[in-house]
Symmetry: C2
Subunit: 251 residues, 2 copies
């Protein structure tokens, strides 16, 4: 854009967004040097952008000189309506499902080729899971991911296959043909399973949530210990997903 950028072809705005992109679940707090390295920006540019972001409230400086995401970004991010309407319809039903099953209940939406967890409710005695709100899961290896794959237009599956079906455990479906057959079953049964395909010891079952026009809005799932009989949880998950879909149609 303007001719005085240090890196040709990168606009000032894209540099600012690159600074924000440095932060993720695995890296919630970063130093100036780490941000410069991850964004590929010169230290001086990085420092200047950070100063602006801190003044605005998008980043916060920690006592150890590192930076973390600030409340202003939380406030603006919480306006994302895709997740907003869905969350409002889903959370009460997720509470009921959590109370009835005493398990981990999660709600995910499609986000740039992955499943983004937008809500999570855990029973006090449920097994701890790594997934957090804002965390992303691979589509081919998780219950919620397979639901999103199975009920989205075919290009999504093609993209996932072309991107490579990463082997996360020995159970992960890494062959395109096996994954496609599995997704046929998901469409037939209206429910998707992951049997230790993402993490050894953990299994999940998920069902689709649809809007009033019948379009896929997200996936509701339960994640639990591998010794749990998922078949017993599937009807509860499907019922809850249908209840959420019904609430979505009312709003």
């Amino acid at each position: 854009m303007s001719g005085n950028n240090a890196v040709p072809g990168r606009s000032v705005s894209s540099k600012l967004l690159a600074v924000l992109d440095c932060f993720d679940i695995a890296n919630p707090a970063l130093s100036l040097t780490e941000i410069a390295t991850r964004s590929g920006l010169p230290l001086s540019t990085t420092r200047r952008l950070i100063v602006e972001l801190v003044a605005w409230g998008g980043l916060q400086r920690l006592p150890d000189q590192r930076y973390q995401v600030g409340l202003r970004l939380f406030r603006i991010g919480s306006l994302a309506p895709q997740q907003r309407g869905l969350s409002e319809a889903a959370v009460p039903i997720m509470q009921d499902l959590c109370e009835a099953t005493q398990e981990n209940v999660q709600l995910a939406v499609l986000d740039d080729g992955e499943a983004l967890c937008i809500e999570k409710i855990s029973a006090q005695r449920a097994v701890p899971t790594a997934t957090q709100v804002g965390g992303r899961l691979p589509l081919h290896a998780t219950g919620v991911g397979k639901v999103l794959l199975a009920f989205s237009p075919p290009p999504l599956l093609r993209g996932a296959v072309e991107g490579g079906l990463a082997p996360l455990t020995r159970n992960t479906l890494t062959q395109a043909g096996r994954l496609a057959s599995n997704l046929d079953l998901v469409r037939e049964q209206g429910v998707a399973y992951s049997f230790e395909e993402m993490t050894l010891g953990a299994v999940s079952v998920a069902a689709p949530v649809r809007d009033s026009a019948g379009r896929l809005s997200g996936a509701l799932g339960i994640v639990t210990h591998s010794h749990t009989r998922l078949e017993h949880l599937a009807p509860a998950v499907r019922t809850a997903a249908l209840s959420i879909s019904r609430r979505l149609s009312l709003t």
Copy 2:
């Protein structure tokens, strides 16, 4: 910054942030013209910045040509650790409080002179409330706001008084002296009430949540109908707030 900005003194980054600032709970979807008007930027600049934000995933274009906040900002915003650790500790206890009382339970933190609602859990049969996650409440007129005022250093109260204590209903404490006395009582009792001071027909009760060092982290509150006896709910709210504080100390 660079000399080629249309508005002198405003950096490109500040313009991009001004575009994001246009969106709030009352305005979750805006047209190009509305964004230009609200941000005070020329149409051409606004259009260019929107194109970059849409390409990045921070904004989304709707079929009616308006724009809304996109999932990428939700994902980054959900990393804000101030709310993250607090939410993780609070949500299970909030579920319990919601189940025990069948009311609306909310968790708020201090954000730039207001109370920002970061979590909300409502019982299915609870009265509907206007407050949403990401919404902001005035400090002087709400239970959670008074808790944040009462247990923060004095400059916060001075700022609120200097900013003017807006009369939201006929019950709002608009005189600095009356508000100060009320906050003395909050500190003495460890619990804050709002008796139709924010909205006629709605009352609230709230208690402080503290971190392991005893510092104020947020405020937990219940909002309900004005015919509810808040005194009966206060011990439950205080107990739940103490439980959350205890969980915060463990992490």
